[in-house]
């Protein structure tokens, strides 16, 4: 991985195997701009033709490799993104911690205190159940919604960069995704600390081990969507407006402020509601952070296991299926359109 020195005069391709495309060889050379804009054939010629099927497949599934080679670029960009948001503010790095706290206070006050939304029949230790239920939901949702809105404009906003520097532009929506996940992680950490220090809620146990898995699946899911939307936004600037509206609709279609197990009427719609991938995501998060929450059955409400650790696995499996689908679709769309980015942004 060392820089090829002057002595070879740029004589041969650094790649020992002829069959490898030059792009990979270049990546390994450890310097120089890496363009993923145009297609390179086996002899190193860069041509105008659109990517072929096998090239798209290679790009989609070769992304982890690209990520490994460019990990420094990704890390630096994510760090920069976070610094841009928080550096220069008085509270600095406390902001991502305060955000979820304020959210929790606001939601708890309005929904639980003022409107009296309560989960009936919970044990004493789970008294603040509704507040925590909403908090976890809103935290997970915010990470998704913010990533989608910011991700949609991530390529267009960095137009100048795309025009002037050759670098793998697929990392732009990735940065936004990772920033969303890191912010979410702050909220999760805050929650765990608060549960450990106060009697607000029983501190989460071994189920916390699910957190990395949930983050990974959520990351793939949001990244795939963000890739698709950011590509679409390059050609169709209305995308951002549509996304802003749709995320609001999506938020209410997801059990964030309401508990499906509570009303019979909603319970009837569960087969439809459970198509929603974000439903599975918030339920997985709740399982990991809240443990089991059982709502007793009464004549008025359906009752049942509103949150459970057991269900994390199945929920994640459904989400993972969605995630892979969105990822493959979004990435393929991105690869197909990428060569026109610099002309359109």
């Amino acid at each position: 991985m060392t820089t090829v020195q002057s002595t070879d005069g740029g004589a041969v391709s650094p790649s020992p195997t002829e069959s490898l495309p030059d792009l990979d060889a270049l990546d390994h050379a450890g310097g120089g701009q890496v363009s993923t804009v145009a297609q390179r054939d086996a002899e190193g010629w860069v041509t105008a033709r659109p990517p072929r099927f096998h090239e798209i497949v290679r790009r989609v599934f070769g992304f982890p490799g690209l990520l490994r080679r460019h990990k420094d670029l990704v890390l630096t960009s994510v760090k920069r993104d976070l610094e841009v948001r928080f550096s220069g503010t008085i509270l600095g790095w406390f902001w991502p911690l305060f955000h979820p706290l304020f959210l929790f206070v606001v939601y708890y006050f309005i929904f639980v205190h003022l409107l009296g939304f309560k989960l009936q029949g919970l044990p004493e230790s789970q008294k603040s159940g509704m507040g925590v239920y909403m908090f976890v939901g809103i935290s997970a949702w915010t990470a998704i919604a913010e990533t989608l809105v910011r991700g949609t404009s991530s390529i267009v906003d960095n137009g100048n960069l795309i025009k002037k520097l050759a670098f793998p532009s697929e990392i732009l929506p990735l940065n936004v995704t990772l920033v969303g996940l890191v912010t979410l992680l702050f909220a999760v950490a805050m929650f765990v600390v608060a549960c450990t220090l106060t009697p607000m809620w029983p501190a989460p146990g071994w189920a916390l081990l699910w957190v990395p898995v949930i983050l990974l699946v959520q990351g793939v899911f949001t990244y795939g969507l963000a890739l698709f939307l950011s590509t679409l936004q390059v050609f169709l600037r209305d995308t951002l407006q549509v996304v802003t509206v749709l995320t609001t609709v999506w938020m209410f279609a997801t059990p964030i402020f309401w508990v499906p197990e509570v009303t019979k009427r909603v319970a009837d719609y569960m087969p439809i509601l459970s198509i929603n991938p974000v439903y599975h995501l918030v339920q997985a998060w709740r399982g990991a952070l809240m443990g089991d929450v059982v709502i007793p059955k009464t004549p008025e409400i359906a009752g049942g296991l509103a949150v459970s650790v057991e269900a994390i696995g199945p929920h994640l499996a459904v989400l993972a299926a969605w995630a892979v689908g969105f990822y493959v679709l979004g990435f393929a769309f991105f690869v197909l359109c990428q060569r026109r980015f610099a002309d359109e942004v």
Partner: protein
């Protein structure tokens, strides 16, 4: 895939799609491209060239001629529409001053970010950090936010990072214009060093000097088409000849020549201009560009000045060695020569030319009355090649003689004192 070329382009072209509105784009999208709602604008057409490692390639042409488009394609930021190219080795490009710099962050942080963008690892960057800061000469400013930098400082930082990549192929769009003379010289030295190490350089500039000085080969693009390609001196000659015609014959296109915006507001004919300039053996009509030290030459400059009262002129002739060192220059404003009339042939006689061997570029500059504003810089059709028969060193042969006195050293003098 072994080939002796560092960079090859075959039939390279680029068309930009112009859509009348966003709706046309949607129509094209949902019909899978069957409905073509765009018109094409060809920014670059059928460009062919091959560059060997160690060569330097200059691009000249008016604004909008396709220079930047070509550089963008070759640096990999945009895809070609037709044709193909092949680059061997790492490419680093400097297409815009401070592209990718984040204004709120320090120079140091920006080096890391820009470096990773260019494909360096963090480890490599920290290894090269000192040499980058050193080259950019930012001193303590390196830990200040980039927004506090002057444009020259930004350029130095950008250039320093690009060369730190140590690419096989370095692509530079016209960015030098911002730097001061000292830094320009430094960049030029760096570029020479790159050349010596067998690296390939692509360089775009409005300055025909730079193209001639820095590049062995050049291409002249005009409205996306290649008008001339080959030896940089020949190409720049053709381009400057074309520019002259352009100014004097076709007033409607004068606006394309952005270097002289004042020309756009007035008809080219009205302004003073140099019609031609050539070097002759002194006192003869023999045009000559190959001389020996001690020869006598004269430079004839044919000028026109339709309104001498409004626009008084001065003319200067300079001798520049290939590394941009100005070896000497003479000017009518320096000698107090006075012009009269609307046209003429100014002759500057240089008897017993004492320049030592080398290639000299001879710009003829048409100044305003005070010798400040340049109306025009005219480059002679060929460089002056001087041969030397003696073994003198330096730029000039100094007039000298050797002799001996019978004298004791002065009392207080001497270096041992």
């Amino acid at each position: 895939m072994t080939t002796e070329y560092a960079l090859e382009a075959e039939g390279l072209g680029k068309a930009y799609r112009m859509y009348p509105g966003p709706l046309q784009r949607v129509l094209e999208g949902i019909t899978f491209g069957r409905h073509k709602g765009y018109s094409e604008f060809w920014a670059l057409k059928d460009t062919n060239f091959r560059l060997k490692p160690g060569s330097s390639f200059g691009l000249c042409g008016a604004n909008g001629a396709g220079k930047s488009t070509l550089l963008k394609i070759l640096s990999g930021t945009t895809a070609p529409s037709v044709g193909r190219y092949r680059a061997r080795g790492r490419v680093a490009s400097l297409l815009e001053l401070g592209a990718g710099f984040h204004m709120e962050f320090t120079g140091r942080a920006n080096i890391v970010m820009n470096g990773t963008m260019m494909g360096l690892t963090r480890e490599e960057i920290s290894r090269k950090m000192d040499s980058i800061i050193d080259f950019a000469e930012l001193g303590d400013y390196i830990d200040e936010p980039v927004r506090t930098y002057s444009s020259g400082m930004g350029l130095r930082l950008g250039f320093a990072v690009a060369v730190a990549v140590d690419p096989e192929i370095l692509i530079i769009d016209e960015v030098f214009a911002v730097g001061d003379m000292y830094f320009q010289k430094k960049c030029v030295d760096k570029i020479y060093e790159f050349k010596k190490r067998g690296k390939t350089i692509l360089f775009c500039s409005h300055s025909l000097y730079d193209v001639r000085q820095l590049c062995d080969q050049a291409i002249w693009l005009d409205h996306g088409e290649c008008r001339a390609i080959g030896d940089s001196v020949e190409v720049t000659n053709e381009y400057s000849a074309f520019q002259r015609h352009h100014i004097s014959e076709d007033d409607s296109v004068v606006g394309h020549i952005e270097e002289a915006p004042e020309l756009a507001t007035r008809a080219g004919e009205d302004l003073p201009h140099i019609v031609d300039a050539r070097i002759y053996r002194m006192g003869t009509d023999e045009e000559c560009y190959q001389v020996t030290t001690g020869d006598s030459i004269e430079v004839r400059v044919w000028w026109e000045n339709p309104h001498p009262e409004e626009t008084p002129i001065q003319i200067g002739v300079a001798f520049m060695r290939q590394d941009m060192t100005t070896c000497g220059g003479v000017g009518t404003h320096l000698s107090g020569y006075e012009f009269s009339g609307e046209r003429g042939c100014l002759v500057v006689r240089l008897p017993n030319l004492q320049l030592l061997s080398g290639q000299f570029l001879i710009p003829v500059v048409l100044f305003d009355g005070e010798g400040v504003h340049k109306y025009q810089e005219y480059v002679l059709p060929e460089n002056l090649v001087v041969r030397t028969k003696t073994r003198d060193i330096g730029l000039f042969r100094l007039t000298h003689e050797w002799t001996e006195y019978e004298l004791a050293p002065p009392e207080s003098g001497g270096q041992e004192a």
